[in-house]
Symmetry: C2
Subunit: 493 residues, 2 copies
């Protein structure tokens, strides 16, 4: 492990390589034999499970229920909504056959040409079409509304350039799909869920986010309005971390989903959809981690505390273990996830480096002298500071420290974002600021053409129009046309 | 709802239709637009979630961790293990292309012939191949073993005849894949997990199961030994409810997964895999339910208790609600999932029929007179018996009643299984017994040929050789060859 840690690229040397190294060395994920698809390893999956559990609680508290819809979507469904198919057709995995047969030369198996499907099926890139085709039978009257459904699922988008967690051909996500009787209610739902995502990102992941609206260029294919939460990574690039879409009546019209309203008149149903994915793992890793490895927020760390005994012989080990056992019970009763690592085949130094690499928020080390003095060495992962604590009351101390770390990493990330957010008024300033990285607040004339030109020239896009952007009269830095608020430009993942 | 209930086919009239009706009318699932794939509706999914949570706890208590492997498997991987490909090739969904393009005539989208994959990808029917290809890089020394990994995932087997939950093209499941240094350890793991499944089935689902070994004909494609739990449905048919496979070194050899043992010598790794699926939902439904609808085991019921107020006016409703609120709090504090249904748009009779259809284990009804007397009407779903209880201490009473119902439905199912299990010694008796249905204990000569002939002539197969089958000398009912224990024959789902 010490060797592995040494091999971790430094952020300053190559941020992108540091990220890839870290994902692999911290045992989070690895590339699979299938192009663009990753294997999520147990430690990475344990973090994702913690995320899922908390998000699922938040969805249920806001009245949503889970359901499950088919993985495969008939090709013709995709074409029903014009913008939707335009957005997804280029990256669809297509199932064309349903059987293999032995190769006549005994060399393996072939696709059986006699088992060709009448209509090809697409592995869902997102499920609006199959779900709205289903909702048609669920919705007849306003009494059947709202429908507040979420699905945890795998989806597939055949991306050409992939990076683990950030952009993979297959990824895990949740997709909420709600149906409403009124435009107002659907709009309120879309905003409610972007707020849920923002709360989750900030309070659990410790990742500060800007809530905003996407420009037309960046909007979900088929949406009227896309709300987003945008985070800033340590290299100043933006990471879109969750989106919530007001879909209007687009999918209801495409799949003919009407209901009889209170006035007894038929009307198309109003819709939202919203999702976050394993991409959040990327945001988590890149926001907090350092050159020693992962830094995990205590609220999502699979192991919050590790206790490592320092002993010279078996007798000492047993003494320490005896003293630690009641502490373990006490911590577990408090809901603290604690691991006692008295494994004999790794020396303390190796263990320390390993748990640092894995981002365990608090490490306690107890030696024979500590035991005699009633003390313990406490190391907090976020600052790497060591301090001496007392064995008595250690559970209270650790519980408080975990909350402190949770707060601290959020504020550290927030400060970094603030430090790397600038206002610019000219295109020259804009290009200079881009070289430094970060969020750039600039005026924009509101046209897709201007955004497209800026993207082509600088690779920066509008990440969002912040929901809390103050009104401010100005002019577009490129076209000089009037603008009434600043938007956030950035390069992004 | 009253109408829907009336439409529920009676078991005696058509058991198969009763099952299909029930799945749809109790809002568990429905057919989707995609052949053989179902939509699992929120109420059905809520039951599956309860199953998942409990199984996941049991897997973690036995030392397993979750991970996630790719949905798609390169076609060539399947061919590596000869029996495995033989078993799955005929039902594989095959991905051949990764892009759609607009049809030139504007009629929709076409598969883009320029986006043909070099090697076709198979949607996983099970993940041994992709996982063992991954394990090759995880395992070098005996110190890397055991690997105890589980995956919650969707899989696809292109079945020609499908039935909701019981046999669908796509289904949800978990698949454990473990790697061990010794044959003994792997065998012990396979047996440990069949015991976990049996415990889950009996203690949570209330479904009695026979643990046994599969005959060669029914063994998993690629396994040395398949352990199974077999349940009996109310119509006497068997339902295979979970399997655990000792895979020997077959997949390690196919994917060249070797480790250096303690004697510093290379050796192939020993494997198991084990899985249960949404098929368990079918077992749950068919074991306990009746002509009034679902009967759910309290340990898995999303709603364990429903309280329905009976009121003549708003004032009465408010009084009852005020009296019920502390009961709701008390029950929830005890971990009882309780719903108070004071919705005004459905009459009590409709609500009663609906909650019976949905299998809610306990229904409490409270009217104005009850309130005055401090009483409550209690209906238990398993027996449909009504009794009068006291509002005081109702939480204790209900908690005990829930356990009683859990026990009762298990014992009822057990008694039915015992009543429908017979020993036969001749083929004539065997065929007569088959007409009555149930498990048939008979002698078998141990050959696949005899089993195959019996299957062809009677549609019955060997469900398992029970683990606890006593030694008993006898002769095969068909061939007269010697046999040393009875096996279970049955027709099956």
């Amino acid at each position: 492990m010490a060797k592995e840690l040494k091999d971790l690229t430094k952020r300053a040397d190559n941020y992108s390589q540091w990220y890839n190294d870290l994902v692999v060395k911290a045992d989070l994920a690895e590339q699979s034999a299938v192009r663009g698809c990753m294997v999520i390893k147990p430690y990475g999956y344990a973090i994702w499970e913690k995320m899922q559990q908390q998000l699922d609680r938040m969805f249920k508290e806001t009245g949503h229920q889970n359901a499950y819809f088919p993985l495969l979507i008939p090709k013709s469904f995709l074409s029903r909504e014009a913008e939707h198919v335009e957005g997804f057709a280029k990256e669809c995995a297509v199932v064309t056959h349903h059987r293999l047969k032995n190769a006549p030369d005994g060399s393996g198996v072939l696709v059986d040409p006699d088992a060709k499907l009448e209509e090809e099926l697409i592995i869902r890139p997102t499920s609006e079409t199959i779900i709205w085709n289903t909702y048609r039978n669920w919705i007849h009257s306003y009494r059947d509304l709202p429908i507040l459904v979420n699905q945890w699922a795998n989806v597939m988008r055949w991306e050409m350039r992939t990076r683990m967690f950030l952009r993979t051909a297959e990824f895990l996500w949740q997709e909420g799909h709600t149906a409403h009787a009124t435009r107002e209610e659907a709009e309120a739902e879309a905003i409610k869920m972007i707020n849920v995502y923002a709360d989750f990102a900030e309070k659990y992941m410790g990742v500060p986010v800007v809530k905003g609206i996407k420009s037309a260029n960046e909007r979900f294919a088929g949406a009227i309005e896309t709300y987003t939460i945008e985070a800033m990574m340590q290299d100043g690039k933006a990471l879109q971390s969750g989106t919530s879409h007001f879909l209007g009546q687009n999918f209801a019209k495409a799949f003919d989903v009407q209901f009889v309203n209170k006035e007894n008149k038929p009307e198309y149903v109003w819709a939202t959809s919203w999702g976050v994915s394993t991409r959040l793992m990327g945001a988590l890793i890149m926001t907090h981690s350092d050159d020693n490895g992962l830094v995990l927020p205590p609220h999502l760390a699979p192991i919050q505390v590790v206790i490592v005994p320092i002993y010279k012989n078996e007798e000492q080990r047993q003494e320490i273990t005896k003293a630690v056992e009641p502490i373990l019970s006490e911590m577990r009763a408090r809901g603290i996830s604690v691991k006692y690592d008295d494994a004999d085949n790794r020396r303390p130094g190796f263990k320390f480096a390993d748990y640092e690499l894995k981002g365990v928020p608090v490490r306690l080390a107890i030696g024979a002298r500590d035991l005699a003095n009633g003390t313990v060495e406490i190391m907090r992962r976020d600052t790497l500071e060591k301090s001496e604590g007392h064995l008595e009351g250690i559970t209270d101390h650790v519980a408080a420290l975990l909350e402190e770390i949770q707060e601290n990493i959020f504020h550290k990330a927030l400060k970094q974002r603030e430090d790397m957010t600038v206002k610019v008024d000219t295109y020259e300033e804009f290009k200079e600021a881009l070289e430094r990285g970060g969020f750039i607040l600039a005026h924009w004339d509101g046209t897709p053409e201007t955004e497209e030109r800026i993207k082509e020239e600088t690779k920066a896009t509008i990440r969002c129009i912040p929901l809390d952007a103050p009104e401010e009269d100005g002019v577009d830095m490129l076209t000089g046309k009037p603008s009434h608020r600043r938007v956030i430009f950035a390069r992004n993942y």
